[in-house]
Symmetry: C2
Subunit: 190 residues, 2 copies
C-alpha cells in the first residue's frame, strides 16, 4: 500500500533492537483518514471470503479493525488481556507469549460473541513473532469458527511471524512488509 | 440519543453492584454502525468549539473516539495504561483511581502528541466515579492545552462522576444518563 509506505518513510522512527515506532499515526496518535483507507484496503482484499466477524486483540488493533468492520459491514470483537467484572465468565482463551515483555499472557473472548458459524478475519497492527495471531487462532479454533484470513498493517519480514503464519496455510495479507531497518534505513519488500 | 437508549434496553444487562453490561455493542463486541452514529452525534454537539484533538484512554474509548475524530476531522490520541518500549520516555502523566480494581494507576501521553495550542475533546464510554476523566484532564493541564469538553456514551447518574466533572465547570455531554438500575430495570434521565 503506497500511501502507507510513504507515511512510514515520512514519520516512522527506527529505534534499537528492530523497533519501528509509528505511534504518530497507528498506535498512540491515530491518523483517521489513513486508518480509514487501510480499513477499505483490507475490506477489498478479503471481500470475497464471506467474512462474518473481524477479530483483533486489544489495544492497537482496535482502531484499524473498526474500519475493516465498517467496510465489510460486520461486527468487530476485540480479545481482552485482563480479567474484569465486565468480562463474562464463559470465555474462549488463547495464550500469547510476548517477546517484548518476556512473559506469557492470556487473551479472552466471551462465548457470546463467537460462534461455530463465524467466518473470522483477524486484523492487527504489527506482525513480528506471530504470537498474538496464534493466540487469536486458538480462540477461533476453540469456538469451532473458521479462520478466513489475517490482515496485518506492518509485517516485520525479518522476524519469523510471517513464515509461521503462512506455513500454517493461513491466508495472510500485509499492507506493507519491512524487510530490513539496518542503520535506520527502512527497506520494504516489493 | 434515542437509538442508544433503545439498544441499551434491548441488549444491556444489569448485573450486581451497579454494573451495566453493554459488551455486545460497546466494549467487547463493537456495533460499527451504532458507534459511527455516536461519533457523528458527538461531532455535532462539539462542532462549534474548534476542537483540534480527541483524547481518550485505552481501551474502551478508542472505538468511539475514532469516529468522533473522523467527523471532526482531527487526530485521536489515546492515553496508555502501561509503560512499554513503544512509548516515548517524555510523557504527560495522569493518575487514575479505579474503584473497580481498588487501585491507582497512571495513564500517559507522549509529549509529541499534545501541545499547548490544542483544544481537546475527551471521549469515553462510561462515566461513573469520574476518575478517568480527572486523569485525562491532568494530562491536558500538564500540556497547557485547553479542555473544551467531555463526551460520554453512558453516564451513570447514580454515581458521582457527572457531578464532579460538571462542578469543575467542564462542558460535559452524555449521550444517555442512566438514573437507576434497581431490580434490573434501567431508568434513563429525561
Amino acid at each position: 500500500m503506497e500511501l502507507l509506505k510513504k507515511k512510514i518513510l515520512e514519520v516512522g522512527r527506527v529505534e534499537g533492537e528492530g523497533i519501528l515506532k509509528v505511534d504518530s499515526f497507528l498506535n498512540h496518535q491515530l491518523d483517521i483518514p489513513l486508518l480509514n483507507a487501510m480499513g477499505k484496503e483490507f475490506a477489498k482484499r478479503f471481500k470475497s471470503m464471506g467474512i462474518t466477524k473481524v477479530l483483533t486483540a486489544e489495544v492497537s488493533g482496535i482502531a484499524i479493525a473498526v474500519f475493516v468492520g465498517q467496510y465489510l459491514e460486520v461486527p468487530v470483537v476485540f480479545a481482552k488481556k485482563t480479567l474484569s467484572k465486565n468480562l463474562d465468565r464463559e470465555t474462549y482463551e488463547g495464550e500469547v507469549y510476548s517477546y517484548t515483555k518476556g512473559m506469557k499472557y492470556k487473551i479472552r473472548v466471551s462465548k457470546r460473541y463467537l460462534f461455530k458459524e463465524d467466518k473470522v478475519l483477524i486484523i492487527d497492527d504489527f506482525l513480528a513473532e506471530g504470537q498474538a495471531i496464534l493466540g487469536l487462532k486458538e480462540i477461533i479454533d476453540e469456538a469451532h469458527a473458521e479462520l478466513m484470513g489475517v490482515g496485518i498493517v506492518i509485517e516485520k519480514g525479518f522476524q519469523q511471524g510471517g513464515k509461521i503464519v503462512r506455513d500454517l496455510g493461513i491466508n495472510l495479507k500485509s499492507l506493507v512488509i519491512v524487510d530490513s531497518m539496518k542503520e535506520g534505513k527502512i527497506i520494504f519488500r516489493e
